[in-house]
Symmetry: C2
Subunit: 291 residues, 2 copies
Amino acid sequence: MSGELDLIERLRALPLHPGARNLDDDAAVLQIGGETLVLTHDMLIEGVHTAPGQDAADVAWKLVATNLSDLAAKGARPVGVLIGFTRGGDDDRFVAGLEEALSHFAVPLLGGDTVAGGPPRSHGLTAIGRATHVPVPARSGARPGDAVWVTGILGAALAGYEAFLAGDRPRADAYLRPRPLVEEGIALAPVATAMMDVSDGLLLDAWRMARASGASFALDSAAAPVALPEGRRDEALRWGDDYQLLFTLPAGIAPPLRATRIGAVTRREGDAALILDGESIESPDGLGYNH
Amino acid sequence: MSGELDLIERLRALPLHPGARNLDDDAAVLQIGGETLVLTHDMLIEGVHTAPGQDAADVAWKLVATNLSDLAAKGARPVGVLIGFTRGGDDDRFVAGLEEALSHFAVPLLGGDTVAGGPPRSHGLTAIGRATHVPVPARSGARPGDAVWVTGILGAALAGYEAFLAGDRPRADAYLRPRPLVEEGIALAPVATAMMDVSDGLLLDAWRMARASGASFALDSAAAPVALPEGRRDEALRWGDDYQLLFTLPAGIAPPLRATRIGAVTRREGDAALILDGESIESPDGLGYNH
């Protein structure tokens, strides 16, 4: 992954807008008139971010959902999306899934581009949202003494993925059709000191949040609710695609929704951004899904 | 191209934002906080929109320039861009070209995504601009009696493409490194009744503008300035990539910059959106570059 990190460092050295706070991580924040906009752009490449045989309608849904999840982590209410994709054999299903997702989340299409090209098919989506609380939560705001919380149940997407591989489509929804936690993000934005969505695995994303905050996260892996048998708890914490919200609150503040306290923010000592069940972890390798 | 048109019709049937005026054609217009934003998203696919052996730095430049050209056609001043691209072997050149373009046009990077995937490599860019004049010019505003104008010289990109194929890189800039006419678009926005950038060939884009306006354009092909020998005038008017501005003005109004009057808007009779040198043209086939 060092090539990826080098590239991101180089992109960060470009002329950046002041709102481009964490390229390739956080969504951008833009002041326009009296409003604060949040903008994010994510891509899905066939065969890299999709499983063989995945219905193009599910791909379209996931593309919408993952971008809205980035807005959710900022407490932003979606305003609209721009879509770009390569045309191919299953455009009908792709557009059907796009329609389902946009209708379900009540987000209008603003525009976009369709082009010839591929395989592999390539899909990109830009989502624009309106911040509901300023300052907009960032992943960099966790402070020593804060508690670390997560919504929902982890590993549900992994269980869904395994159901998908087994041909059990009805049980595969957690993987194929994630739900961005837009209302939850809006409820948390005024109280969270830091927030992000868990897209690449709880441990990796916690490592990233701790690092962005210049702190360490001391996590109790047994505290996190998981969707898998106890013997697979570790997998559930390292697999991505759950799109739950990871956030920090000052000690003694209860979250305004159902969530689980999984640890505490501590002062950073050395390189260990993560202290997992008492063990210092100094590298993100193996903590989750890098893509 | 009927597959493409069907697809666009289907996208237009999705829940559209009121600002999504012409999906896959015009940029979107969004009212936010007392300001009017213009948003556009274009993709470039390796091998489809790029020539074999094209430097990735030139691909990055073109990706930025073509999106800024869409903003220029709306009289919008660029605010920032979000980039998405597949990582590959020549990332260094791609990022170098991105940096050159963003610096040259003084546009900051807001964020984006880089992913594994390809070949072919896929690149998408979302550009956000601030409208300088409201109502924002659209391609649908041409009225019978207006004059039809175009900036610059057509076919320069075709000449540049041929220079590129001949290995004459210094003369290939018009093809490889187009210049979006941002200041020209801003100057024209208050006076133009309709405006668009010429990306797919003058005749095809004029046909589209006439059609969007529910009118016909009667064009004098000899009037348009071309960069090629007279015997190749027809090619110059059908080749894309010039990114000049095509616009209409009420009769008797002179444009505030150097431009050429190439015809007049007339009432539509039948299906002929274009009347070229007196000949009615009822189909866009062969008028330019569909992609």
